[in-house]
């Protein structure tokens, strides 16, 4: 840690990890309701569990992004954060808002636009927190050294905050409601968040591999260019069946096919940088997460996204378990794993010690990644059968679901592996053990104690 004010990232990361725990436990509970539908059905209905699962995910990923920004911007800009105090106020607003939202959901107060269910006061809180954040990081960057990494990171964060305005726009006309709703949902995860992801990945690879900044930054611009060129009009793949003009079927199919490119480039970028790298960095776990994130993002967001994005396919697969399979692997690879990469890299520095618990951390990577991959496969099988029985043959929804129960049982098992992995990650990040559970060999520069 070169700058004192980077310390604010520590509290963002701890808060994010706490919500990460809540998110995966909520997911496990929802997975169990699929297996045993009467469980808690009167006390805590499925829709409430799901709101907690998805909202906790979104908030902790954002907290992770904010934390990552507060950690890397001082190093890039070569100066302290403009106002650490504002950063703490922003964190408190976000935590109060999150706890308020969860409390509201438990007593039945919520909106009904998916993922944007937060009560209005929480939405305003998020807006205020975002404005504080933008002011703080922009002032820091503008008065310090400017790099391509901070340029792209700031652009992503500014745009995603501006798009939050559409969370307040809810037309009475359902089709318009849906169209503008995607301005937040799609243009976050398939456009602006990709900018944030690419910038953070570039920072990590720069530090972990020691490749020239010029090379890293050129890659970065090419990646984010392909992300926005494909992702903006790629929004069209959500506009096929919600009452919008038919031309979106072609625009959406063509441009969302190109959405695979930025994810392929990010994966290539990560491996090429490691190949060209001059450094044998001591934090092996952070490198594993960086490579793993870009790889799983390529499969989850890229391959599994393309699987059902062409309108001729989507006509049959839309809104089945195929979507759930894609959603889980894409979020895990692109945003969960990337955040965990930053946490793994930053936490030892924030605590001013050598990388610790790397073996346990890497074990948690394989547990979570293996579990998530298995979950994706079984949901894809379930979705394929569902598509055929329900959309092609025309069997009714509930009778189709009854024949999928074996997949839901396997999904629960996969989810349990992910939860164990997540708890192991949290343990290995928060608790510092004196030595590694497996001592490193002599040729390995990774610290063993």
């Amino acid at each position: 840690m070169k700058y004192e004010s980077q310390k604010v990232a520590y509290w963002y990361i701890l808060s994010a990890l706490a919500l990460f725990g809540i998110q995966v436990l909520g997911g496990l509970l929802a997975g169990w309701v699929y297996v045993s539908p009467n469980f808690l059905s009167e006390l805590l209905p499925f829709n409430v569990i799901r709101m907690i699962h998805t909202n906790a995910l979104i908030v902790w990923l954002l907290l992770g992004f904010f934390g990552a920004a507060y950690f890397l911007i001082p190093e890039e800009s070569e100066r302290e954060i403009w106002s650490p105090k504002l950063a703490y106020i922003q964190l408190i607003i976000l935590l109060v808002g999150t706890l308020g939202a969860v409390g509201s959901y438990l007593v039945g107060i919520h909106g009904g636009r998916e993922f944007l269910e937060q009560p209005l006061w929480v939405k305003f809180g998020i807006l205020v927190a975002a404005l504080i954040f933008l002011l703080n990081v922009s002032m820091t960057v503008l008065s310090g050294k400017r790099t391509a990494i901070t340029n792209v990171l700031l652009m992503g964060l500014w745009l995603l905050s501006l798009l939050w305005v559409f969370a307040f726009i809810n037309p009475d006309n359902l089709s318009l409601d849906k169209m503008y709703w995607w301005f937040v949902v799609h243009l976050w995860v398939e456009a602006t968040w990709e900018l944030v992801m690419a910038a953070i990945l570039a920072f990590l690879l720069l530090k972990l591999t020691g490749v020239d900044r010029e090379v890293v930054e050129k890659w970065l611009y090419v990646i984010v260019a392909t992300a926005l060129f494909s992702g903006i009009l790629g929004t069209g793949h959500h506009f096929y069946w919600i009452g919008l003009p038919g031309y979106w079927q072609w625009v959406g199919s063509i441009f969302s096919t190109f959405e695979v490119i930025p994810f392929f480039l990010m994966m290539s970028f990560a491996f090429v940088m490691v190949w060209k790298g001059r450094k044998n960095h001591a934090n092996k776990a952070a490198l594993l997460w960086s490579l793993g994130s870009s790889t799983v993002a390529f499969f989850g967001a890229g391959v599994w996204g393309f699987l059902h994005t062409l309108h001729g396919v989507n006509f049959y697969s839309h809104g089945t378990q195929i979507t759930a399979a894609h959603g889980h692997l894409a979020f895990y690879g692109a945003y969960v794993a990337l955040n965990l990469a930053v946490f793994t890299y930053a936490m030892p520095m924030l605590r001013q010690r050598a990388p610790y618990n790397q073996v346990l951390n890497m074990a948690s990577f394989w547990l979570m990644t293996g579990g998530m991959a298995f979950m994706t496969f079984v949901l894809t099988f379930a979705g394929t059968i569902q598509t055929h029985m329900q959309r092609v043959i025309g069997d009714y929804y509930m009778s189709v679901q009854d024949s999928l129960s074996v997949f839901y049982l396997m999904r629960f098992g996969a989810g349990a592996a992910v939860v164990i992995g997540a708890l192991l990650f949290i343990y290995s990040t928060v608790v510092v053990r004196k030595s590694e559970v497996i001592a490193p060999g002599p040729a390995n520069p990774a610290p063993g104690e």
């Binding site: 009167e42 009904g112 260019a225 919600i242 009452g243 979507t323």
Partner: protein, 150 residues
């Protein structure tokens, strides 16, 4: 990467290209907005009842179990075409009656079957919800879903 693609060129392509695609997207959005209002949803009036029904739909977070035009939680049946499936799309009174009977019979309590929670709704709420679902059903969704199963 080739020498011809310098960092500053890559940056300029990124900024210029992004602005280009944003402009096209905004233009298509404006056209789509008008298309929705004038064509695809124009078959039925967006009445106060429909608007009230949309609020009922939202306050109860139905989307976190059901899907509507294929978007939602996939835990419970698609409802974008439920009025067609029930055979009451052109019968407002029948739509209200069948929806009321359905909501009031939940939860079923059957062991091993997914449970819809109990909702305490007034007749006004139920009528609004029925009208909202009929309104959604009449939307021109480019032929989706493929069949009445939703």
């Amino acid at each position: 990467m080739a020498e011809i693609l310098t960092k500053s060129r890559a940056r300029n392509i990124f900024y210029g290209g992004s602005i280009f695609f944003v402009v096209i997207f905004v233009g298509m959005t404006v056209h789509s907005h008008r298309y929705v209002v004038e064509t695809s949803t124009a078959g039925m009036e967006l009445s106060d009842e429909v608007v009230h029904g949309k609020h009922v739909w939202e306050e109860n977070s139905c989307i976190n179990c059901h899907s509507l035009h294929g978007e939602g939680a996939y835990f419970a049946p698609e409802v974008g075409n439920v009025m067609t499936r029930w055979g009451v799309q052109d019968d407002p009174e029948g739509a209200f009656e069948i929806l009321k009977a359905w909501i009031e019979s939940q939860p079923s309590g059957i062991e091993g079957r997914r449970q819809m929670p109990a909702y305490d709704m007034t007749d006004e709420d139920l009528r609004g919800l029925a009208e909202f679902l009929r309104w959604a059903d009449q939307t021109d969704t480019q032929g989706w879903p493929p069949n009445d199963a939703g």
